[in-house]
């Protein structure tokens, strides 16, 4: 460019070599940083598969952890109780958080709008969003364990997770409900439909795919949480279907395996982590697929 530049009539508008170099370097750095951001993901996925698949032997999914981790040749067991426990705890949490969350979002959009009270609710939902997950555990501990004098229980873990899910459900629902065209609402009302029927027949069905996406993301988030369960659902080995008693869960079992590691327990932790991440990834992919099909977003 520099040699033949003088001859071309537009050459005097050319970018000077110094600016060109700066541009190249800056874009190179941005690209490099982007690639660096992907390195941890690749490493985590690689190590999860590399170490986790080795642990997925015959009875990994069909036996409970035994707790005999001290001796090298004793049977440490698998993750059955943790998988079932996570499913039960998260299912109950979802059963609480989803209706309440959707209800609050509907109220915010359809009734509260931008009134003072609605903005106060939005502010408090934002506050909930920022609360560290372990503090949710402390809240439930104070109210349901100190307050009642009873012990850990699965449903208390569910309540802690429900608190954690609530702001996610409310926030994502609000975004989707906002996208429902107001023309649809007005048509329904103009045809004489009462407000509640407009909400249940027009607004919610239109927003459904988006709502499901938000709900699935919230479930995925709650399924991976350890801290709120440590002092609410507790730790146990046996499979239990009683949400009123101690209940094992995948994240808590991984945590316990990490803090008392022998090589085989460490391997079980990797296997458990692989199971947990697969579950959460599946939920995420499902959520993404649904949001792509939504006509709104």
């Amino acid at each position: 460019m520099s040699a033949g530049a003088g001859r071309h009539p537009l050459a005097r508008f050319a970018v000077s070599p110094r600016r060109r170099r700066t541009d190249r370097i800056a874009r190179g750095l941005i690209l490099a940083a982007t690639l660096i951001a992907l390195v941890p993901l690749a490493l985590i996925v690689y190590y999860l598969l590399h170490k986790g698949l080795g642990a997925w032997s015959g009875n990994f999914f069909s036996t409970d952890p035994t707790g005999n981790t001290f001796f090298a040749n004793s049977d440490i067991g698998g993750v059955k109780s943790a998988i079932l426990g996570t499913c039960e705890i998260v299912a109950l949490a979802a059963a609480i958080a989803i209706p309440v969350g959707i209800g609050v979002a509907v109220w915010l959009i359809e009734y509260g709008r931008s009134g003072r009270f609605a903005n106060a609710v939005r502010f408090f939902v934002d506050v909930l969003t920022g609360v560290p997950s372990i503090v949710f555990g402390l809240f439930i501990y104070i109210v349901l364990i100190v307050g009642t004098g009873s012990s850990y229980a699965g449903y208390k873990g569910s309540l802690a997770l429900a608190l954690l899910m609530l702001p996610i459900v409310i926030r994502s629902c609000e975004v989707v409900l906002l996208l429902v065209p107001s023309g649809l609402r007005e048509s329904a009302l103009a045809l004489g439909s009462p407000r509640w029927r407009m909400i249940f027949r027009i607004v919610l069905p239109t927003a459904l795919p988006g709502i499901v996406t938000g709900v699935l993301l919230a479930i995925a988030r709650a399924a991976g949480e350890t801290a709120p369960l440590l002092f609410t659902a507790g730790v146990t080995h046996v499979t239990s279907s009683d949400l009123g008693g101690f209940m094992n869960s995948l994240p808590v079992q991984i945590y316990n395996d990490i803090i008392s590691p022998t090589p085989r327990v460490e391997q079980r932790a990797w296997g458990t982590a692989l199971a947990l991440v697969s579950m959460i990834l599946l939920l995420n992919l499902l959520a993404r697929a649904l949001s792509r099909r939504s006509r709104l977003a």
């Binding site: 309440v100 996406t213 991440v277």
Partner: protein, 340 residues
């Protein structure tokens, strides 16, 4: 004429009979109560938390509890400064490492990447948010920390004249590894918010810069970055709030030394980690002190998040026109999910 539009019982013919209006009223009332319940619940939790934390605060004084550098469970001395500083050190490290990288990813996906690579790149970065905290801890303590130890020792030896960084012996769990793990964990949220904010830069501004002969980088520097500075700062602060409150991953990789670590590559403790680690066997005053640590943590995240939300809201409202800009639903939702 007016008489014709009034029915026998005195109501307007077009209005519903009062019985038919009942479900509407009921729904409105129920939903309003539900929303009020959320408010009440948070206030109730907060009051109870303060109540449980009070014995520790009266024991050491609010100021003493927060700023005394002495956490000794056996001697009943609870000064949370080492924990508070541990939280701040690791979070600051996370910002220092995480924010530039997150901003670069956002810039690359929003402005520089070939159109076909944008969506997959975005998904990949957001997948980092899907990895549970405990899995980061597992990976951090069994892979990252041992692998980094040699490099850390080399840095510590070379920089031995720098206070707090060099000189000491590197332990496997330490502040630096905790900060690094946190940097990875806040990457998706900072990147998602930055991308959202960058998307609000009007095409006019960018085209004007390019039309005046700016290179791509000059366009980013002169048109994009100044326009979304507040939003990016807000995104970084949301990341900070996330880092401050992160519990399990930090608990696993920071070690559990209840005094202020002497250097960056030594063991430490953080507010969240001390709760996760000690709460199980805590009794009496000790338990109250842990509740107090939770309260300090809660208030700290509240301040950081409040500031951050304000900045992001102002930024996404648009600094130029002042009008509300439509944001894409899926993106906003991903940001909401990532930020929660």
């Amino acid at each position: 004429v007016e008489g014709a539009s009034v029915a026998g019982d005195g109501r307007d013919v077009l209005s519903r009979p009062s019985l038919a209006r009942l479900p509407d009223r009921a729904l409105k009332l129920a939903l309003t109560l539900l929303s009020a319940l959320i408010l009440a619940l948070i206030v109730y939790f907060f009051v109870r938390l303060v109540g449980e934390a009070r014995p520790a605060f009266t024991h050491a004084g609010v100021f003493g509890f927060t700023f005394d550098n002495d956490w000794n469970v056996n001697a009943d001395r609870f000064g949370a400064l080492p924990l508070l500083l541990g939280t701040l050190i690791t979070s600051a490290l996370a910002l220092l490492i995480g924010v530039p990288i997150a901003l670069a990813t956002a810039l690359y996906t929003a402005e520089l990447a070939p159109a076909r690579a944008r969506a997959p790149l975005t998904v990949l970065v957001e997948l980092l948010a899907a990895v549970p905290s405990v899995v980061y801890g597992l990976w951090g303590i069994f892979f990252l920390a041992p692998k980094l130890r040699g490099t850390e020792q080399w840095i510590a030896d070379r920089l031995s004249w720098v206070p707090f960084v060099g000189g000491g012996t590197v332990t496997i769990p330490n502040y630096f590894v905790a900060g690094l793990i946190l940097a990875i964990m806040i990457l998706p949220i900072v990147s998602a918010i930055s991308r959202e904010v960058i998307a609000t830069v009007p095409a006019d501004h960018k085209e004007a810069a390019l039309g005046l002969g700016a290179t791509r980088w000059e366009m980013i520097r002169t048109a994009v970055l100044p326009y979304c500075r507040a939003g990016i700062v807000g995104g970084a602060m949301l990341g900070l709030g996330r880092a401050i409150g992160e519990t399990i991953a930090v608990t696993i990789v920071i070690g559990d030394a209840p005094q202020l670590g002497s250097h960056l590559f030594g063991q430490g403790y953080s507010l969240a980690a001390v709760i996760a680690n000690e709460f199980g066997e805590a009794q009496g005053l000790h338990r109250s002190a842990l509740f107090a640590a939770g309260l300090v943590l809660f208030i700290l995240t509240l301040l950081v998040n409040g500031l951050a939300r304000g900045l992001v809201r102002r930024a996404s409202r648009g600094t130029a026109g002042g009008s509300a800009l439509p944001t894409s639903g899926a993106g906003a939702m991903a940001a909401a999910a990532a930020s929660a």
